[in-house]
Symmetry: C2
Subunit: 405 residues, 2 copies
């Protein structure tokens, strides 16, 4: 992709309070339409897609099957669970023509439970694990912190349907491991904690995954023994780790990047989702749900992985493999390298703009693509290319052959 | 993917009037949530993704750059173009907390025009070609014909921004060729017609792409000379081809599968989207828009490509490469072939259900995956595998080696 095709300009400054919004807007990854509502420009779409791909792979490694549910959801489904009047983040409205009342999907238990009911009769039909990567809408009192709390955002939500709580418990543990792998792959492994949070009628706790950042709106207490954390919301006065009883806990600010929840039979009872067990007796299906905010992760990664010059993407989600900067009229040679890299299957952003060397190099740092290549009269003379990793200080001269490897 | 993982059951019948809805629901591709609102189950999601991929490739071949715009759009943007009160398919509602009025995106001129305004100053910043594959919402008076007219659906929309009408005209012609390639690749090339339709203030005509089907809600007149068509809406009393004057026109029912439109300066005037020309004079940017309904194409393909036993997918959008049917306890050999095909990069649906041979073979026809493999005691004895193309009558015996090729 040539830079001039992107249709963007980098900005010197924004009025954003939030670090991630400031960097993402300045670098041309996103554009704000209204409070808590962003357009993903090409660069932002690429990062979001890469995160989605990592999440997909890990969901499929635990048997998840991808579907896509609607955002436009009839009120009747929400009335069945009595959440039509109680879930305060629901956008609610009426069709002008049919007078049907709709909610915009803030979550999908009200869709997936009656959906699965169509296909489950017997214990032989279980387990079922369905997930989607889909756009959610929430009428938040305050949208804030750039991409961390939005009114429209992309989320992965998986729903598990098991015959009994033992099977749910086993799957839940598998999911914890899958989530840990996701954060590791996204470069957040070392600062993301499995965190005890409030449960519900079915289990004492749910679990969040919390990434340490000053921009986070949660406060967690980390147990240095277990490497687990406890959300402030549920910590008792004694402030003890519920796992080991340790009371040496460290207080930190964090941003929730995942939430997993044993739903039990709450929704299967509401929609009468049952199956015949081996004795031909009706039993309620036991459910779990597992969410990850994809666009919130874009914001969280930028919030924690940056320096004074811009974003520092981990390689796994860098929007391009290479950022190719052409200096001093080295256009012909750059075109050659651009074509070679693309033909070898690499994604390359080629800065073909008529800008100064200083502007181009500053923008490369701002955008934060993992590997930067500079081609100039000097490098051509040496028969080499300058390669620099965004996270490192020193550049090195390499041949095209070495680069392709 | 194993069939038992999908979490679906095929159905003997539905109450659907529409052929595409009947087949897609019976075969477990989609599930209806409410009138005009469908869940894409895994099979349906796969077909939709394959269509999207074809569309993406053709959009990028004409310089399109992918972004993702929001569905939640502030009323103010729609008031600027005076469409807040006049576009009757808009879902409109208010935030409970902030009292902001929103429309759900039925189309995106109101978002992309002010978006592009942030990045365009000079003629050097043009052209810009941005597209998205995104979920649209329309408050239709009547949702009908399965996936052909929905209240929520996936659409590709590209918007072009040129410095003058000559450049727009050139791009528009390129786009006509790109669209033709898309329908060809989707197996609809021979029955899809470039069709003159009503224009607007800027140009006499817009163009639709219309696919012949009895289920379509449009009537078109085909000029047998030009292989062009004219929508009934705009045909004059003389019923002549606007291209060649031929009056031998054939009347057909058809479904609109694409619409391209020269917007001119309508939206750039509303949002004051201008650029400095080479003489430093302000000029309005000249726009075009180019839509394709992705989920509508899923419905259209099924509507026209089926037989009495089920769907007959074209290979380009078949949800899997192979449908592997195991008969008479040939499980071990099937597992071997399943693994070999998957390791070779093929997508395989393995029918691992405890069902009769008759049910499995009937379901393979109903689902319509392009290539069916049967492995049974008989084929094992012959040291072969039975391969059958969905569109052909005869099966053939092949070795695994031949299959992998």
């Amino acid at each position: 992709m040539k830079f001039t095709q992107l249709g963007i300009k980098t900005l010197k400054e924004t009025k954003e309070q939030s670090k991630n919004a400031d960097l993402l807007i300045r670098a041309g990854y996103v554009n704000q339409l209204s409070a808590g509502v962003f357009t993903l420009l090409n660069l932002g779409k690429r990062v979001s897609d890469k995160i989605s791909q990592v999440v997909k792979e890990e969901m499929e490694s635990v048997g998840g099957v991808e579907i896509l549910m609607p955002a436009l959801q009839p009120a009747t489904n929400w009335q069945t669970t009595k959440r039509w009047d109680t879930l305060d983040v629901l956008f609610r409205f009426e069709s002008y023509y049919t007078k049907t009342n709709y909610a915009l999907g803030a979550t999908h238990e009200e869709v997936i439970t009656p959906l699965v009911k169509n296909y489950v009769n017997s214990y032989k039909d279980l387990p079922i694990y369905l997930y989607q990567i889909q756009t959610k809408f929430r009428d938040e009192l305050r949208a804030k912190s750039g991409l961390l709390r939005n009114r429209e955002f992309i989320m992965k939500d998986l729903y598990s349907f098991n015959a009994n709580t033992e099977d749910l418990d086993k799957y839940y543990e598998k999911m914890i491991q899958a989530y840990k792998k996701i954060y590791q792959r996204l470069g957040l492994g070392d600062i993301t904690y499995l965190t005890y949070a409030s449960g519900g009628s079915f289990s004492k706790y749910s679990h969040e995954f919390q990434t340490l950042t000053k921009a986070g709106e949660d406060i967690i207490f980390i147990c240095n023994k277990c490497q687990l954390a406890i959300n402030k919301e549920i910590i008792s006065e004694q402030k003890k780790c519920p796992e080991c009883g340790n009371s040496k806990l460290t207080e930190e600010k964090a941003s929730e990047v995942g939430n997993i929840f044993k739903l039990g039979t709450k929704f299967s009872q509401a929609f009468n989702l049952t199956y015949k067990d081996i004795n031909d007796k009706d039993q309620y299906v036991v459910m779990g749900c597992y969410g990850i905010g994809i666009t919130r992760l874009v914001g969280t990664i930028v919030e924690v992985l940056n320096d004074e010059r811009g974003i520092v993407w981990p390689e796994s989600v860098s929007p391009f493999d290479f950022h190719l900067v052409t200096l001093e009229g080295a256009t012909k040679e750059s075109k050659l390298v651009y074509d070679k890299l693309q033909n070898a299957g690499f994604e390359v952003l080629w800065d073909d703009r008529e800008e100064s060397a200083g502007k181009k190099l500053a923008d490369a740092d701002l955008l934060g693509i993992t590997k930067r290549i500079v081609i100039s009269a000097k490098t051509i003379k040496a028969g080499k290319i300058e390669l620099k990793f965004r996270g490192e200080k020193e550049a090195r001269l390499v041949s095209i052959g070495e680069l392709l490897k």
